[in-house]
């Protein structure tokens, strides 16, 4: 055996983190390439938010005349909420990528390669974050085109994007964890349907906080969708209360770390069963 045919040696400990990030980068690139070749998928995930935004926006236009909405139009109130809600709902499908990989031999091949479990999760979550930015810009753009106006400027929009990404990553990680544990497309659809719609409706995405029934208001306080919706609406105001924005973004960030860790742990469940 000559020197050139030897397998590369395992990387040293200090470069392992870097290797992991590099792997996550390649995996993100792989997913983005699939999306680029089949962009129809992105269009599908945008149908629902358009219905929410344009149909609900028009249907409930006069809701904003109720006290509690302030001086904004309903469309202006609704748009940031629909942005984060879309981020959550499309992230709920993130696990399907893993299920496809498991149904083929791709997951098994990856798990026997130097790619770490952390990198597999990071790759999937980073991809979802990129998709979320694109989706959010489109949904927000449609809201603005339909007449919504905000005083928050670029900073406000960036905060909306940040909240949408954090919320998307939380639900993508959950979706990946469920995929790894239940390993079936049907279960994943069930879990994501069971969670996302109730969470959207027990938040202030559609209805002003002051007008929510007490019990819904209580749930909303612990609902990450609500954290993201409130922080986004606040940041778009002319003079936002930054402590309220940062507090909720901080909660989202913390929950994201917990979920990403859980998803990485879920590989053990998968490997026990193979």
């Amino acid at each position: 055996m000559s020197a050139t045919t030897l397998a590369p040696v395992a990387p040293a400990a200090e470069s392992r983190r870097f290797t992991s990030l590099r792997h996550a980068g390649y995996l993100t690139g792989r997913s983005l390439r699939i999306l680029r070749r089949e962009p129809v998928y992105l269009a599908f995930t945008l149908i629902q938010p358009m219905v929410w935004l344009l149909l609900f926006g028009a249907l409930f236009e006069r809701v904003a005349e109720l006290p509690g909405f302030g001086s904004t139009s309903y469309l202006e109130y609704l748009t940031p909420g629909v942005v984060v809600m879309t981020a959550m709902m499309s992230a709920g499908w993130a696990g399907t990528g893993f299920i496809d990989d498991m149904n083929r031999g791709v997951m098994d091949r990856n798990l026997t390669s130097p790619v770490s479990r952390g990198a597999l999760i990071t790759g999937a979550l980073t991809y979802q974050a990129v998709v979320t930015v694109v989706q959010s810009l489109i949904v927000f753009g449609v809201g603005v085109a339909a007449g919504a106006r905000y005083d928050g400027g670029v900073t406000g929009v960036l905060v909306v994007l940040l909240c949408a990404v954090l919320l998307a990553v939380i639900f993508a990680a959950l979706s990946c964890a469920v995929a790894l544990m239940l390993r079936s497309q049907e279960s994943l659809i069930g879990v994501s349907q069971f969670l996302t719609l109730p969470l959207a409706f027990t938040s202030t995405v559609m209805m002003a906080p002051a007008l929510l029934p007490d019990w819904v208001g209580t749930i909303a306080r612990y609902n990450p969708v609500d954290w993201a919706a409130r922080a986004s609406r606040e940041a778009l105001l002319g003079h936002p209360d930054w402590s309220a924005v940062l507090g909720r973004a901080g909660l989202l960030f913390a929950l994201m770390l917990v979920m990403a860790w859980l998803a990485t742990r879920a590989f053990r469940a998968y490997q026990r069963s193979v």
Binding site: V9, A10, Y26, R30, P114
Partner: protein
């Protein structure tokens, strides 16, 4: 390092309590470097479970395994750099081109850009995929796709290559093609190959040595020639018109001079004989005298099927059917 793979006493159980399924109960073997080693057995015998343990995908309940000189339980990270794995199910990315698939694989193993290009070209050329290299792989034929799976596993020049049923689902032509590639791979890459298969013919063709696995245990080990040579003489296979006459037929056959071991499997009777052609007339006469109607009679040189029957106590095909009908858990 004398052996590329050393497995000892591998035990694996799936599930708990009453639903527990024992997939492996003490599998052990050693694979000499630079050879093709076959793991032969029917569906559900424990071949894939063994492969999954050796490739770090799964962990054994007990037992040890050393691959390329590295303990799979203690140093899984280093084992992963030293091996290439072709799972039973296809593992290429159908939305990417052949070259894109190979490039991603090269990146994952930390190859340099120039090496990725050179190695990719070399493998595409060798597997006859160069013309299709820049086409999206979902448009490729099944045989080409499977060859890409093998090329992917070879990209980083592994020391040990695991092929889990590489030709299942391929048409005969693609299978023959794949066989040619596999037998060339030990020479071209200096790699050791562990091949699982439930095709007797495939093990016979490709494996330098093999073990026969049945119900989670190694029941025989050796070169295909040794295993077949262990059964001296030929096999006469008698297929009865009526399975109910099995006992009577067995008595009739046993009475013929020159017959050795007899085993029965439903309406089929297998008898070992010193010389098939010489024994046949007497055997037919004995069955005729006993008034036992026959569907067919065949004389054959020993095959791995006979080896299997001898060691597992049932014919390979009936075991394969049983495995397929039974739990898929160990598949």
């Amino acid at each position: 390092m004398q052996h590329a793979i050393e497995a000892e006493g591998l035990v694996k159980t799936y599930g708990k309590g009453t639903k527990a399924v024992r997939a492996l109960s003490g599998v052990g073997f050693a694979v000499p470097r630079g050879t093709v080693f076959g793991l032969l057995g029917p569906n559900g015998a424990g071949k894939s479970t063994t492969t999954k343990i050796l490739t770090t995908l799964s962990t054994p309940d007990s037992g040890t395994a050393v691959v390329a000189g590295l303990d799979v339980s203690r140093e899984p990270g280093r084992v992963r750099h030293a091996i290439g794995y072709v799972p039973q199910k296809p593992c290429f990315d159908p939305t990417a081109t052949g070259r894109e698939n190979l490039t991603l694989q090269g990146h994952v193993y930390g190859l340099s850009r120039s090496d990725i290009r050179a190695r990719g070209d070399q493998l595409l050329e060798r597997f006859g995929l160069a013309d299709a290299a820049d086409r999206v792989t979902k448009t490729w034929s099944g045989g080409m796709q499977r060859k890409l799976d093998v090329a992917l596993a070879l990209m980083h020049r592994p020391r040990v290559l695991f092929l889990d049923e590489p030709t299942t689902g391929l048409d005969p032509e693609a299978r023959a093609d794949m066989w040619a590639e596999i037998s060339g791979v030990t020479e071209a890459d200096g790699v050791t190959v562990l091949l699982t298969t439930h095709y007797l013919e495939e093990a016979d063709q490709l494996a330098d040595r093999l073990v026969i696995i049945d119900r989670g245990q190694v029941v025989a080990e050796g070169t295909p020639e040794e295993l077949k040579g262990g059964l001296d003489g030929d096999t006469v296979q008698v297929e009865l018109a009526d399975a109910g006459q099995q006992e009577a037929a067995r008595r009739a056959v046993a009475s013929v001079r020159g017959t050795g071991e007899i085993s029965a499997d439903g309406a089929r009777l297998h008898a070992r004989v010193g010389n098939g052609a010489a024994t046949l007339p007497g055997l037919l006469a004995a069955l005729e005298d006993a008034a036992i109607p026959l569907a067919s009679v065949t004389v054959a040189r020993p095959s791995l099927d006979d080896v299997y029957l001898r060691h597992a106590g049932r014919s390979f095909h009936s075991a394969d059917r049983a495995g397929r009908a039974g739990t898929e858990v160990a598949a």
